[in-house]
């Protein structure tokens, strides 16, 4: 373990952070709202609006801003679990996206751009959404200035933009991302309340793992230049470290470090969230899956926790969500849900992104106990 990693985990354990220089300070926090929501047919806009109000109101966050909404559309839209709509299992539900766009527009956002690095394609996000059963026309008309971008390659942009990891990084020192992330004033992570087979949980932080373009970080990324027509995932570069990203992006800090996904993925997630900060963390637990992140994970099950979680700090929001799932958000490797991985929340806390300590987090609406649904 490097000194930087030791500091990260040691600092995380105490609810404090360490940086390369070794100084420590309390990790930031922000309130988190929990609301009961039993069905996507409820008035989601009204519900979300109330939750934003509990957090201090939405207009102050987004008025005249470019809001980028990172969806969670993991895996091919062709893969359904028990034939259910994707939004009821492992994808962002279209009605939550519709409500979010509507509220952002009402709150005065200048531009609302939905983004996702779509599985194994650089085709338009709009078509990927159609393939996922979304009504793109409704979403486009939900507010003025709604746009769509597939961030798996250049998309409609002209260049990639380098985002440096503050403090130097744990796996990579910096990431090359779609230009949309540079044009962002407010980044919203719209996640599902789910387990993850490698990372234990996948919430607003882990959702950000998907901002990496497969053109650079994909299994079929070009060696020197990005492959603008990616057709594969990111397993070899990110999960397993079997190869380096395209030379357009900086390579790993230490190619001799562990290749274990349970080591790499939490670190990549945490440092991505540090490099490209999340301002609004939304976690949909109305209907979802437990036991894994998608239908390709054996043994997953459909569940209806009936909750929505919203926060202005992704680590705090994820800590609350993890607790709602029945886990200790500060659990160490080897303890559920981080059975075979490091705890992303603690790594993010150590990077100074936010506090994973429930005693530091103000919770509005339902209490964790009231909302708890054991995964």
């Amino acid at each position: 373990m490097t000194r930087r990693e030791w500091l990260a985990l040691a600092g995380a354990a105490a609810g404090i952070r360490g940086n390369a220089e070794g100084w420590i300070a309390p990790a930031p926090t922000a309130p988190v709202a929990i609301a009961r929501c039993r069905s996507y047919n409820e008035d989601l806009a009204a519900l979300l609006s109330r939750m934003f109000d509990q957090l201090g109101g939405l207009p102050r966050l987004v008025r005249n801003k470019t809001v980028t909404i990172k969806l969670n559309l993991t895996g091919s839209p062709a893969l359904r679990f028990e034939g259910r709509p994707l939004g009821a299992t492992h994808y962002t539900h279209p009605r939550t996206a519709l409500a979010m766009a509507h509220l952002m527009g009402q709150a005065g956002a200048r531009r609302i751009r939905f983004v996702e690095s779509c599985w194994a394609t650089a085709g338009p996000l709009e078509e990927y959404l159609l393939d996922s059963g979304w009504n793109v026309r409704s979403l486009a008309n939900a507010a003025p200035g709604v746009e769509f971008e597939n961030t798996n390659a250049l998309g409609k942009g002209k260049r990639y933009v380098r985002f440096k990891v503050p403090g130097g990084g744990l796996i990579f020192p910096a990431y090359e991302l779609n230009e949309a992330f540079d044009e962002t004033d407010v980044l919203v992570s719209m996640a599902k309340l789910k387990n993850h087979s490698t990372c234990g949980v996948t919430l607003s932080l882990k959702n950000i793992f998907g901002i990496t373009p497969a053109s650079i970080y994909g299994d079929d990324a070009g060696v020197s230049e990005p492959n603008e027509h990616p057709t594969k995932g990111r397993v070899e570069v990110c999960h397993l470290g079997k190869r380096q990203p395209s030379k357009a992006a900086p390579g790993e800090l230490d190619p001799g470090s562990s290749r274990e996904p349970g080591y790499r993925m939490p670190r990549i997630t945490a440092e991505l969230a540090a490099a490209r900060p999340i301002h609004i963390a939304f976690i949909d637990g109305v209907e979802t899956v437990a036991g894994g992140e998608g239908p390709w994970i054996p043994g997953i099950r459909y569940v209806q926790p009936g909750v929505l979680i919203l926060g202005l700090n992704p680590v705090a929001a994820d800590a609350v969500a993890t607790a709602v799932m029945g886990y200790n958000p500060r659990a160490r490797r080897g303890e559920a849900p981080f059975v075979s991985c490091d705890n992303t929340l603690l790594l993010a806390e150590a990077l100074g992104i936010g506090s994973a300590d429930l005693t530091n987090i103000e919770i509005c609406g339902l209490s964790v106990t009231e909302a708890r649904f054991k995964f």
Binding site: S76, L79, L130, D131
Partner: protein, 443 residues
């Protein structure tokens, strides 16, 4: 003679079922249903059954296997014979069956029987791996086992009614959805599946169990849906993408090129090499010639004119041969499927995201077939859902401007769909599809 001619004329309207009973009372199930033709095995041949069938305007046909005596069948009052299995051509010629249900390779495309039929078929549905699950990876759509590629080729080859008469595997119990899918799989390709149920379902149906009767009613409802629109059966394919192949280049195989293209919902028109003409390629923009070596010089000229007029042609690599299925098999081995990669990658690159008639979204676990209406102006898009669950929010982008679209489903009255403009022409949205739906879109 007149009777024989009438029989032939009626054959196009026959909705056939295998009927494993000699009990005349069993035919009560057929009252007010589209099923009007029964294939009855030797063990169930019965004058009383035939009499009752005729009273119900149902045509009883004797199913004759090698070793059965056709004379006995005719003596029992059957209105015709259906041969199933391998028969000496002289025997066929003597007894003049209405259909010979043979292997796919032996089907009588140009024989005197009014119906072209085969007993060989996959039982349509989502392909399940041997371990009972789909492959665990965040990739790709589930593969659908289907006969539709073969049937679409057959439809392009003959104007005869086509029967696919495969039966459920022994000791298998299917949910009713599989039977519904089998009906649709054939119907969207202009063919009919000869109803044949597993023993468990048949026994429950005969006992009048309410669940089985409900399932039967769904089957009847679905048959009625397709039989209300006989005009759909003989429409021509509408796609701008032509696949030129023949029996020797994989057209009789399930899981071959046509099925692979269909799995991507790329509208495709099968063109039998033996029937390759300028007319068959009219309107096509892309063509794949699976095996150039089997074309005559005249047929090669057709392809040259196609490319000279701006069409894009992809030919199988020199020396490349479509892998042939093993004797008795109608599917390819995994190794042979891998060999298709040579041509499949290029086909994918060629079609890409182009709209070649219609682009469909949110249709995983489904198959479709795009046809041209009889007046040449409209399009008929058949959709079949093999997933076992209703699919919601399907979007279709039709190539070209259209003014009116109607959705036909077995469960509901025809519904007019809202149209909206899209880059390629006209978009429609389908709220929910249970088993099948057909969009008829007109200018």
């Amino acid at each position: 003679m007149i009777f024989a001619l009438l029989l032939l004329a009626n054959a196009a309207g026959w909705v056939p079922a295998r009927w494993p009973s000699s009990d005349p009372r069993s035919l009560d199930l057929l009252k007010n249903t589209p099923v009007n033709c029964l294939l009855i095995e030797h063990a169930y041949w019965s004058g009383a059954l035939n009499t009752r069938a005729k009273q119900l305007n149902v045509t009883p046909l004797a199913l004759v296997r090698p070793g059965d005596d056709p004379a006995k069948a005719l003596a029992a009052g059957f209105e015709g014979l259906v041969f199933e299995g391998e028969f000496d051509p002289a025997v066929v010629s003597r007894w003049k069956p209405v259909a010979v249900l043979s292997t796919r390779t032996q089907m009588g495309w140009n024989t005197p029987e009014p119906i072209a039929g085969t007993w060989q078929g996959l039982f349509p549905g989502i392909h399940v791996e041997r371990d009972g699950a789909a492959k665990a990876a965040p990739t790709g759509a589930p593969w659908v086992d289907t006969n539709s590629g073969f049937l679409r080729f057959a439809r392009a080859l003959t104007e005869k009614p086509i029967w696919i008469a495969n039966t459920p595997p022994p000791k298998t119990i299917y949910r009713v959805e599989r039977y519904l899918q089998a009906i649709c799989d054939a119907a969207i390709s202009g063919a009919r599946w000869v109803l044949a149920f597993d023993e468990d379902f048949w026994a429950r149906l005969m006992r009048g169990e309410s669940a089985a009767v409900r399932d039967w009613q769904r089957i009847v409802q679905l048959l009625a849906h397709f039989e209300k629109h006989p005009e759909w059966r003989n429409l021509s394919p509408a796609g701008q993408f032509a696949v030129v192949q023949d029996a020797s280049s994989g057209a009789l195989v399930s899981g071959g090129v046509l099925d692979m293209v269909a799995a991507r919902h790329t509208p495709v028109r099968p063109v039998p090499s033996s029937k390759l003409t300028d007319e068959r390629l009219r309107g096509a923009k892309l063509a794949v010639d699976i095996d150039p070596s089997i074309l005559t010089e005249e047929q090669k000229q057709v392809l040259r004119r196609f490319t000279a007029a701006g069409g894009t042609l992809l030919s199988g690599p020199p020396g490349w041969k479509f892998p042939s299925a093993q004797a008795g098999s109608i599917t390819l081995s995994k190794e042979d499927v891998d060999k298709l990669d040579a041509i499949w990658r290029e086909m994918n690159a060629m079609t890409g995201r182009r709209n070649l008639g219609a682009r469909l979204f949110n249709v995983a676990g489904m198959l479709s077939n795009l046809l041209v209406t009889a007046d040449g102006q409209g399009r008929v898009l058949h959709l079949v859902n093999y997933s076992g669950y209703p699919v919601e929010d399907i979007t279709v982008h039709f190539l070209g401007k259209f003014g009116k679209a109607i959705l036909y489903t077995p469960e509901a009255e025809p519904t007019e769909l809202k149209l909206f403009p899209v880059e390629e022409g006209t978009g429609v949205e389908i709220g929910q599809l249970v088993i099948t739906g057909t969009v008829v879109i007109q200018p």
